[in-house]
Symmetry: C2
DNA sequence: AAACGAAACTAACAGTTGTTAGTTAACATG
DNA sequence: CATGTTAACTAACAACTGTTAGTTTCGTTT
């Protein structure tokens, strides 16, 4: 278990603050105060405020991209792929509660890396869409507006970072299974 | 059709900017520039930046509260109530695309009205939860973790403001029906 | 014509913003 | 012991923040 560098600590604390108030509302002096140092001292470890945000968001986005590539290139059927996507989101979200808030809410402040982020996101959504379309074609899932299906499922998964922390002592396997059931079979008896 | 006051116009434009960049990242000079006037002139029409946010969020939150009260006091069964909730969200969200972004992302900057907003929101969620619990008790819907069910449905509905504008020429009745089908019956064939 | 109100303006404020430069103290390495 | 590195510090910057005060412009009402 190699311990956290000071830089990693700053980024972790920043992500927490970004989640609570949003990127723009967090000042370098806020961040410094929580770290117990002066704002100027932060710059011994990080390049800029921008760069903290970039690090948080891009690393997460790439993690999702890699996970999706693995899933899509497998030989699973549609439902199994969807279950793996749910599992992927539960895993990454539960391990990056704070970072997920920036990914969802502060991506528009990325500046130079904005285009790259947007490409990753649209690639991800295209992969998702093609899984659904394959499922419709094979008769595995119902044929009703894949766009709405994707919006509904993906929105739920993207918001896990809000919901997970509200439940303490949550079992992640349990959550994955429950989500899988609800998202795929609905709530009707 | 009574036309918009200058104050209402400012609030509408502000909501649009808040959606694009978030409340904290929008300056009064940004807002003034879009309005075609100087920042100081805004104060002939509005009290403060804070007050713009408060107006946007509280009026929307109250609209949801009123809608929910009507639904909950009806004699409908659980599924019908859920369908009315879906309809409520589609209606309010489609009519307040920009304001919904503030409601979802900038409520933490409300300051004095924060407590009131949080009360409205938790009342709304409690009503939602009790509808689900009644549905489980009566055997209308499946008995799997109402909290996860609520999270999934409510998250999807709360994010409609992101998704609706991406689709032009969308039929709102159509959307309501499709959402109802997907959220209640799932996607499994 | 005179007075009024609405809505714009200019100028300025006090505080905050991200960031840089230069310095110092503690500690590890030669 | 001397040296170098790390990570903190103080001081300062230029730009930007929300907001106020006081003034001007102009169409409407008396």
């Amino acid at each position: 278990m190699k311990s956290e560098t000071r830089q990693e600590e700053i980024i972790r604390v920043a992500a927490k603050l970004f989640k609570e108030k949003g990127y723009s509302a967090v000042t370098m002096r806020d961040l410094a105060k929580v770290m117990g140092i002066k704002a100027a001292s932060l710059y011994n470890h990080i390049k800029s405020k921008q760069d903290i945000l970039k690090t948080i968001i891009i690393s997460l986005a790439e993690e999702f991209t890699e996970g999706m590539q693995l899933i899509q290139s497998s030989n699973d059927n549609c439902i199994d792929k969807l279950n793996k996507i749910i599992e992927l989101h539960v895993k990454i979200s539960s391990q990056n509660i704070y970072g997920m808030a920036s990914l969802n809410n502060d991506w528009m402040h990325l500046e130079e890396k904005l285009g790259y982020y947007q490409k990753l996101r649209s690639d991800y959504e295209n992969d998702f869409r093609s899984i659904l379309n394959a499922g419709i074609a094979s008769g595995e899932i119902v044929n009703v507006k894949p766009d709405v299906m994707m919006f509904s499922i993906l929105t739920t998964l993207r918001s896990l970072y809000i919901w997970i922390p509200k439940k303490d002592d949550i079992d992640l396997n349990d959550l994955t299974n429950t989500l899988s059931h609800i998202l795929i079979n609905g709530i009707n008896k």
